[in-house]
Homo-oligomer: 340 residues x 2
DNA sequence: TTATGTTCCGCAAAGCTTTGCGCAAAGCTT
DNA sequence: AAGCTTTGCGCAAAGCTTTGCGGAACATAA
């Protein structure tokens, strides 16, 4: 049993032919006689030969590797997006290296450096929460290296991206609250430097307007998306002289923090407060009452991001940044329908 | 701006010295004069040189890559274990390639083939649910390639592994039910081909014995760990003439399926039925009532698995399979304490 | 001046694969 | 039989890095 993987050289010396002959025989090159070809192929199969990706990479000057940076690894949202990326990547012969920025700007820069050192062919990135300037992408963009942002994006005129229709769904959702009987609709927002947070905030305002309301400053709380700030924001909202009768929270972390705080105070959902979560079906149906939720097509986001990436890799010519917008879905459950 | 990453050759030709001189200068080899060393290092820094991992891999005959196979990617349990692996791997200059077996035996074999073709240096694996024979690891074991199992393990006399104290925690948990007032303690078990399922089942029996009970066949249901079978098992238990007053479910999927079904039938937790979940804190505290849970040290499992892996890689001599057992923690919350 | 010793650097091979080109032998034509 | 084509294979370079060894240039000693 060979300790090391078998190479063309091994086959060549076993068969007393040259390495080039083996290489050609394996791809049925017409220069090689049928007899030799047969012998080579049969031995290659028997010994389970497969080309050394390192050597191929060196030769072709490509690593067939995509770097992926996400704010965290353990959330369903990101892990299922990664699954989507992985599937398309694998189908096209690519590997992915996954890094987590832990929502930190510094860590994000570090990840990029590391991935570039690993010679990834390009990057698929979801911005960290703390990322507020975008110059660290200069090097990548200038080198015309494939780059795709998803969910939290920036520099859209230069970089392709995949997003969901955040503005629109936030608007729908706000109107849904109104239709469900809510009249004081609060919003726990995220940092306005973050594209998704900004879009959802604007959608919220737009929805309010559609319902004939103007924004009430006291019903809008900005957070940094942490559980503790979200809890605090909820607490403040609930202690208002006239508390909200519905809360639209900007993402899943905030949604669940709000829900916990509402329950902790002994308030009833949706009777006292309607709630919508941005999360997946599993989590939405896990709790009582089941949560109306905005479901993102996470797997598809990943797939689209990978496809966008691959498209960039191909056309060496003129790269036109593209933006793919996927539709989220509002699934109405008990948490947002007030008893009549 | 160079389109391609800078190589030793680029620096060498810019400085009119040989490639070997550049290589040596970068590592402060005494053969190289201080002047040349200084020039080389300064240009290397300026041009942001970093060695090509492909070339290094080819030279050293190592890819610095660990293949990781998990049953699924989107569960907190596995994704946080992967985080742990990733951290230790990165610290030691290793990359990881993650594959999902989707709980399928066939897919697991396929993943192994693919990873071997990618020239991973070894594998860290959690067995798929459907894996019932273990011959597909022969090739890896015979080649003395580093291999570590975690959580769901096999061939322990040949392969190192990381597990939690399943038997013991299952026993404790059963006794905890008894102490909490339960007298008909049911168990929704998993396939007995799976090490963890078997261990927990045995721990359950042992705990019952400690409480002076013998096992009641009707209170034990075997499932394949899917949500649907778990729901069905719960339904059967609840429809017994004398239904259980506590349910110990073998894993998180089953735990939540059981909880949902119990609630669907309008039964109260813990008043009618006590429940313990095997899950993380986030999920345990998300629901009403908060669930007593068995918390696995997931991140540490990943770290330990990676460390075991690295230890194997080093000592080329005699490889002694090691088993690391980590302690799980039983965190008591409302779901298992019956009102007195 | 010659022999010996340093100092400082380059050559080349190895690791694996692909591919343009060259070359020998065999077959064919006239 | 001489010249041409075809067939079938090998050489070598390129992609990047490390490292043993050889060697030129200079310095020192006798």
């Amino acid at each position: 049993m060979t300790k090391h993987p078998v190479s063309l050289k091994d086959i060549a010396s076993a068969l007393q032919v040259s390495i080039s002959t083996v290489s050609r025989a394996l791809k049925n090159h017409p220069d090689i006689s049928p007899e030799v070809t047969a012998k080579v192929q049969s031995l290659a199969r028997e010994w389970n030969y497969s080309p050394n990706p390192l050597a191929m990479g060196l030769l072709r000057q490509q690593t067939k590797t995509i770097g992926v940076i996400v704010p965290d690894l353990v959330t369903y949202f990101y892990s299922s997006i990664i699954s989507g990326i992985e599937q398309v990547a694998k189908e096209n012969g690519y590997y992915i290296i996954i890094s987590s920025s832990n929502e930190s700007y510094e860590k994000e820069k570090e990840c990029i450096e590391n991935l570039l050192m690993s010679r990834v062919e390009g990057l698929i990135i979801c911005l960290a929460r703390d990322t507020v300037d975008y110059n660290h992408f200069d090097k990548i963009i200038n080198n015309e290296m494939p780059l795709v942002f998803f969910d939290r994006i920036c520099r859209t005129s230069e970089v392709s991206s995949v997003v969901t229709d955040n503005r629109e769904i936030a608007r729908e959702l706000t109107i849904h609250f109104y239709d469900g009987g809510a009249r004081r609709i609060a919003h726990i927002a995220g940092p306005q430097t973050l594209s998704i947070a900004k879009d959802r905030y604007e959608g919220y305002l737009s929805g309010l307007a559609d319902c004939g309301f103007s924004a009430d400053e006291s019903l809008i709380k900005f957070t940094n998306l942490t559980e503790s700030e979200a809890t605090e924001a909820t607490r403040q909202l609930l202690s208002l002289p006239k508390p909200p009768d519905a809360i639209f929270s900007v993402n899943d972390t905030v949604s669940f923090a709000a829900m916990k705080e509402i329950k902790r105070q002994g308030l009833r959902i949706p009777d006292d407060i309607s709630l919508v979560a941005i999360t997946d079906e599993f989590h939405a149906t896990l709790v009582d009452p089941q949560l109306t939720n905005v479901m993102h097509p996470t797997y598809e986001i990943g797939q689209e991001a990978a496809r966008l990436f691959l498209r960039q890799g191909k056309q060496g010519e003129k790269m036109v940044p593209m933006q793919v917008v996927l539709k989220s879905q509002l699934v109405v459950r008990a948490s947002s329908v007030k008893p009549t």
